[in-house]
Assembly symmetry: C2
Homo-oligomer: 108 residues x 2
DNA sequence: TCTCGGTAGGTTGCATTGCAAGGTAGCGTG
DNA sequence: CACGCTACCTTGCAATGCAACCTACCGAGA
């Protein structure tokens, strides 16, 4: 899978998943990873960045099977950004498919 | 528009447009730019790279209204890559929409 | 002639972001 | 008490889009 495709979209994916409910880092990597191949080395810096930019808040919660988990909870800003990014993404993919699809149809 | 979204996709766009017929750089920037905001500083290095990797061949053609144009013509490798990338792209966007859309639908 | 705007091609340095590789630590099991 | 699993995190690197800037050809107008 072309790694470049993912640039910027993972941010939208994380925000979208958190919109449904609080999750912890490892869980996010796992959930996103079911559809898109992603590594932990990608998710943690991403979470750190998004948190620093105020997209979510963090709280710790103990686990019976391992170390405490760090849960991420969307802020208002995070929700708004998710909506904006989702719109931009749909717009973008539509424009791309005009170029790609439109051409493939009636090639010589 | 999120610049990161474009990473990797522009390559597919250029290959797709050239599939329909030979084009020169300035023209490509213009055509792609009708759907996706793109700058010349992006397209020329991209063309150089793709050419170096054997995706297309180049020939010069004079123009009555300006300097000679450098036309790009897809090679077999270029065509094959376009097909592969287009498949990957469609697969990828589908997976992303599972994460994004699937969540938005039944959020609390 | 000289300059200017449009066309066309190009380069440099920078910012962003995904990833492999590696590290720390809590916990239960053998 | 060593191992494996969960969970978090950091470092250095690679890829690629972009602003800014440069060169050069051409015709029109001063």
């Amino acid at each position: 899978m072309n790694a470049q495709f993912k640039k910027g979209v993972l941010e939208l994916c994380v925000l979208s998943l958190l919109k449904k409910g609080d999750k912890y880092g490892y869980e996010l990597a796992d959930t996103v990873g079911k559809n898109i191949d992603i590594s932990e080395g990608t998710i943690y810096p991403l979470l750190k960045r998004l948190r620093a930019e105020g997209y979510f808040e963090v709280y710790l919660k103990e686990s019976s099977s391992g170390p405490a988990r760090k849960y991420y909870k969307l802020t208002k800003k995070g929700e708004d950004t998710q909506v904006l990014l989702a719109e931009e993404w749909q717009d973008f993919t539509k424009n791309v498919s005009v170029i790609i699809g439109g051409i493939n149809n009636d090639k010589n």
